[in-house]
């Protein structure tokens, strides 16, 4: 009797559990298609509802129930969503929104309007590149051949003979995403009140300089502007093609919208800033100006296919279609096809993999996918309805190590500035084993230097100090005078302390760094790994607080070397994630009022790099100077590299007009040549 009752109790509990557990289960198979269908059919409904007018206007209709192309009777057609707003009178008609001569893109397939593209974001203010790079547009496009550029945000441009004057012709009638006209006033505003305003911007980026002197703008009329350089700047074309979002934007900024926060235009800007909770107008203005990943202002206009619309409480960002976007396809359909972009916060990379496998994220690759995940991702292609590609890479090294040669700690600085020490550390690494262990041998072992396909590259630079030779490493360290301690476990620094260097990095490079630390410990140099969150890591770099760091060295293709005066290989320009001569950088940035004066050889190298940025690639001096710079960088062994592996790129099968092969590299802004604005959802 009592047994029966107890069993009944137990059974009941089990059943409750069962229903809780299966509650999701029994209904789930039916629910997701319905839910999925919700978004899809909504998009399909939209296109179908308009199918009558679309057909009438002659849009091509290929697939059974999918209607390709947009709505409109005139020369241009638009998204059904936008068309609705126009009919309600909330937006002007498409002819008034587009510039007189819109940019035209030849797409492989005319797309279907609608859908939300989702890309993973690894933080609320960083790691959102798999949406950002599909969104932003530059003055010029980088075409798929990665060699030619076409005017994009501008109508055309002319260059004078010695490449010191670039005459820019804007698109007449082009507008910001809020409808304000886009004119030379926006360019002048950016140059005078942002770039050259030392309150807003302390140092001018080398990309906007020739031989260290900033460019000058001269407006001719509303749609014509001359950009002048002191010295010839033949690579400026590349700069225009590669420019991206930024904390202070680039080349131009929406004057109409921003001027009320700028002290020059509004004497009460400080008061306005206080009302918004800022200490001064500068911070307030910069928060409204920012269109990088830390953008906060959801009203700020832009020229991109999608603009920031809202940020939810979890930090997910949504980018809505820009009704004024200046690009149409060959049939006159205004781009983009996709309605919305979402940068979805994903706390962990395993979760991102699961979200890829479940098809919740539509593309990934710029936030790197480790080569070690290749097999797993490939196996699940069918489940996630995506394809995995191996794209080419132009990195200098997937992971590079640098020692802070302007370290605030004088004892460490003494060690790090010793070139033999750096060479010894390079020889101590068994790169082949690292490559086999972590990259399944898919990488190619090399020293960190310029990209392998650079025209003046030499084998000796790629192979400098890379052979795994413990004896040689030990001999070099002995030469430096770093004796072993009594127990022969670790070497002693000149100041009498045992070696213990703190290596700082972010999660991505921990596996490589862990292996490297073991190899270094084996030759008596103890290196302790410290993993940090990305923004904290960058912050420490900016403040010259790191002793040693590990990060990717990318952006070193010839493209970059030419356009950014030897790019990240230029002294003081290794970027916040890998910078190892911060004090010298401060000196150059402040014209000598801050930081420390660099030694002569480094100063010379710096100047040669700047000079290199002023040469055309047909100049007889070009290759010899490039080679000489690489030679010096290679001899110094500032960067210790490991290997370069191909890039994993994942794209959903649902998307159309997407690439299947190519080069996926920072040089070409990763996704940019593959034009996210032409992508569309096939189903």
């Amino acid at each position: 009797m009592k047994h029966k009752k107890l069993m009944a109790l137990l059974l009941a509990t089990c059943m409750v559990m069962g229903t809780v557990g299966c509650g999701g289960g029994s209904s789930a198979p039916a629910a997701p298609p319905a839910a999925d269908g919700g978004t899809d059919s909504a998009a399909a409904d939209n296109t179908q509802a308009e199918s009558g007018s679309a057909d009438a206007s002659g849009a091509t209709s290929t697939g059974g129930d999918l209607v390709r192309g947009g709505v409109g009777d005139g020369q241009y057609k638009e998204s059904p969503l936008i068309h609705e707003l126009v009919e309600k009178g909330e937006l002007p008609p498409i002819e008034e929104r587009l510039p007189k001569e819109p940019a035209v893109v030849e797409v492989d397939e005319i797309g279907v309007y609608g859908g939300t593209y989702v890309g993973a974001a690894f933080g609320p203010t960083s790691g959102q590149v798999d949406t950002e790079c599909l969104r932003y547009q530059s003055i010029l496009t980088i075409e798929k051949d990665l060699k030619t550029f076409k005017p994009n945000l501008i109508q055309s441009f002319d260059v004078n003979e010695d490449s010191t004057e670039f005459t820019i012709h804007l698109r007449e009638g082009m507008k910001w995403s809020n409808g304000d006209p886009f004119t030379t006033a926006d360019w002048m505003f950016w140059l005078e009140d942002i770039l050259l305003n030392t309150d807003v911007n302390a140092a001018v980026d080398a990309a906007f300089c020739s031989n260290g002197i900033p460019m000058a703008y001269e407006p001719v009329d509303d749609y014509t502007l001359v950009i002048r350089f002191e010295e010839s700047n033949p690579a400026f074309e590349i700069t225009m093609a590669r420019f991206s979002t930024g904390l202070i934007r680039n080349f131009f900024a929406p004057k109409e919208y921003l001027q009320k926060w700028h002290i020059t235009y509004n004497p009460d800007a400080d008061k306005l800033a206080k009302e918004e909770g800022y200490e001064s107008w500068i911070l307030c203005f910069k928060d409204h100006l920012d269109n990088s990943q830390s953008q906060k202002d959801c009203e700020a206009p832009d020229l991109y296919p999608w603009v920031l619309d809202r940020i939810d409480t979890n930090g997910n960002k949504f980018f809505a279609r820009n009704p004024y976007y200046h690009v149409v396809d060959q049939e006159g359909n205004q781009l983009p096809y996709i309605d919305e972009q979402e940068a979805m916060i994903v706390q962990d990379k395993d979760v991102r993999n699961l979200k890829l496998i479940s098809g919740e994220i539509h593309a990934a690759g710029e936030n790197p996918l480790p080569v070690s995940d290749y097999t797993m991702l490939k196996e699940n292609e069918a489940a996630g309805d995506y394809q995995v590609f191996l794209f080419e890479n132009t990195r200098g090294s997937d992971c590079a190590f640098t020692f802070n040669i302007t370290d605030q700690n004088p004892d460490l600085r003494e060690v790090f500035t010793n070139v033999k020490f750096r060479q010894a550390m390079s020889h101590a690494l068994d790169r082949n084993t690292i490559n086999e262990t972590l990259y399944y041998g898919k990488g190619s072992v090399r020293q960190t230097t310029a990209s392998a396909d650079t025209s003046f590259m030499k084998d000796e630079f790629e192979n400098a100090f890379i052979e795994y030779d413990v004896d040689k490493a030990n001999a070099l360290l002995d030469e430096c005078g770093y004796e072993w301690n009594a127990a022969h476990t670790v070497r002693i620094m000149p100041n009498g302390e045992e070696f213990n260097i703190i290596l700082e990095t972010i999660e991505e490079f921990v596996p490589v760094a862990e292996m490297a630390c073991e190899y270094w410990t084996a030759v008596g140099v103890k290196v302790t790994l410290k993993q940090e969150e990305r923004s904290y890591y960058l912050e420490r770099g900016k403040n010259n607080e790191r002793d040693m760091q590990a990060f990717t060295l990318d952006s070193v293709g010839e493209f970059n070397l030419r356009s950014v005066a030897f790019s990240r290989l230029r002294p003081g320009n290794a970027y916040d994630d890998l910078e190892f001569m911060r004090a010298y950088k401060d000196y150059w940035d402040s014209n000598g009022s801050k930081g420390e004066q660099p030694p002569e050889d480094i100063q010379q190298l710096y100047e040669d790099c700047l000079k290199f940025g002023t040469l055309t690639n047909t100049d007889p001096e070009y290759a010899p100077l490039g080679e000489s710079i690489l030679q010096r960088i290679s001899d110094q062994c500032w960067f210790i590299g490991v290997s370069v592996s191909p890039r994993l790129v994942i794209i959903s099968n649902r998307l159309g007009n997407t690439p299947t092969e190519g080069t996926f590299a920072n040089d070409y802004n990763f996704w940019k040549p593959f034009r996210g604005d032409t992508w569309y959802f096939k189903y």
């Binding site: 807003v200 409480t313 994903v346 706390q347 979760v351 496998i357």
Partner: protein, 327 residues
């Protein structure tokens, strides 16, 4: 009884005050605080920061005052509902926590209920049928539950629920309901997403409760009062549930105080893997990025929950166990 509760309540307040000092120290512990990094980033952005700006900032944050005054300022701001702004999120700490706290609490409570609802009957069954097949099965399951790394279980469950049940990966909601207004469909969507975190987080504490309950109940069942009750012909079920089970529940109830915070914060790793926005994962990221105002507020919140949890368990103990009442 009332005296006891009042006494406990006063203890709770004192403890909270002490813990707030502790949380404040935690904020100040790492080299460099929020403000130094803020000024450093200002200098980075604007170049030379004017002395007056630095002074203004120090005044605004009260950093020009001695430590104890800063503490009281921080407390005062907190009582006024001002927790400061998160460096990393560029949002007020209050909003960040306020949007995560309700779901964190809901999840914790459901997990707690789930763990007890399953563990208590199983524990009683195991003890009453010691060394039976059912007992062995429950024991094995309990040990497996204790030993399985929860993040790993979370990944496996997430994979299979997506593969075979078609649930979206991680989070509380499917993407389409993420920012939708409340509706029956959204609630249903939430219900579908809850089982995985509830099972994963609940499993460990469930196993714990089973073991404790079984052990204490076994002890009690051998006591003379049980034999006496049986001898007087009390119905077995009535006897068991009225006396030994009640005693055996004591250690379980007093563990609520410790289980509650460990469910809220201890599930951090699981929360990150499951991609659910709880206070635990918020705290984790805040600590990594030295987002100190956010971290401090989270620490205060979690301590408050722990203390309240202990308070509740103390009162429950009184209700359940008359011996404590009499002391």
């Amino acid at each position: 009884m009332r005296k006891y509760i009042v006494k406990r309540f006063i203890y709770m307040i004192v403890l909270l005050a002490i813990m707030s000092v502790f949380a404040f120290v935690v904020i100040q512990l790492p080299p460099g605080d929020y403000l130094t990094s803020y000024i450093a980033s200002l200098q980075q952005q604007m170049g030379e920061v004017d002395e007056s700006v630095v002074l203004n900032l120090r005044k605004q944050y009260g950093m020009d005052r001695p430590m104890w005054q800063q503490y009281f300022l921080w407390m005062r701001n907190m009582f006024q509902g001002n927790f400061g702004e998160s460096f990393q999120w560029r949002q007020p700490v209050k909003t960040l926590i306020a949007t995560r706290m309700p779901m964190t609490i809901v999840l914790s409570l459901i997990t707690l209920l789930f763990a007890y609802a399953v563990a208590v009957p199983i524990g009683i069954y195991s003890a009453r049928h010691q060394y039976s097949i059912g007992d062995y099965v429950a024991s094995i399951l309990g040990f497996v539950g204790l030993a399985t790394p929860s993040f790993f279980l979370a990944l496996i469950l997430m994979y299979y629920s997506n593969r075979y049940l078609g649930l979206s990966v991680g989070g509380f909601y499917s993407p389409e309901f993420q920012n939708a207004p409340w509706s029956f469909a959204r609630l249903w969507d939430l219900c579908k997403h809850l089982p995985i975190p509830v099972i994963v987080i609940g499993l460990a504490s469930m196993a714990n409760v089973i073991r404790i309950l079984r052990a204490t109940l076994l002890d009690e069942l051998k006591r003379p009062y049980v034999v006496a009750a049986r001898a007087r012909g009390l119905k077995e079920n009535k006897m068991i549930y009225r006396y030994p089970v009640r005693v055996a529940l004591n250690p379980i109830i007093s563990s609520i105080g410790s289980i509650l915070p460990s469910i809220v914060s201890g599930a951090t790793v699981t929360a990150i893997v499951l991609d659910i926005p709880t206070v635990g994962s918020l705290l984790y990221n805040a600590l990594l990025s030295q987002d100190m105002y956010l971290a401090g507020a989270c620490v205060i919140m979690l301590t408050a929950i722990t203390i309240v949890g202990t308070f509740i368990s103390d009162i429950l103990l009184v209700v359940v166990d008359p011996r404590i009442r009499l002391q």
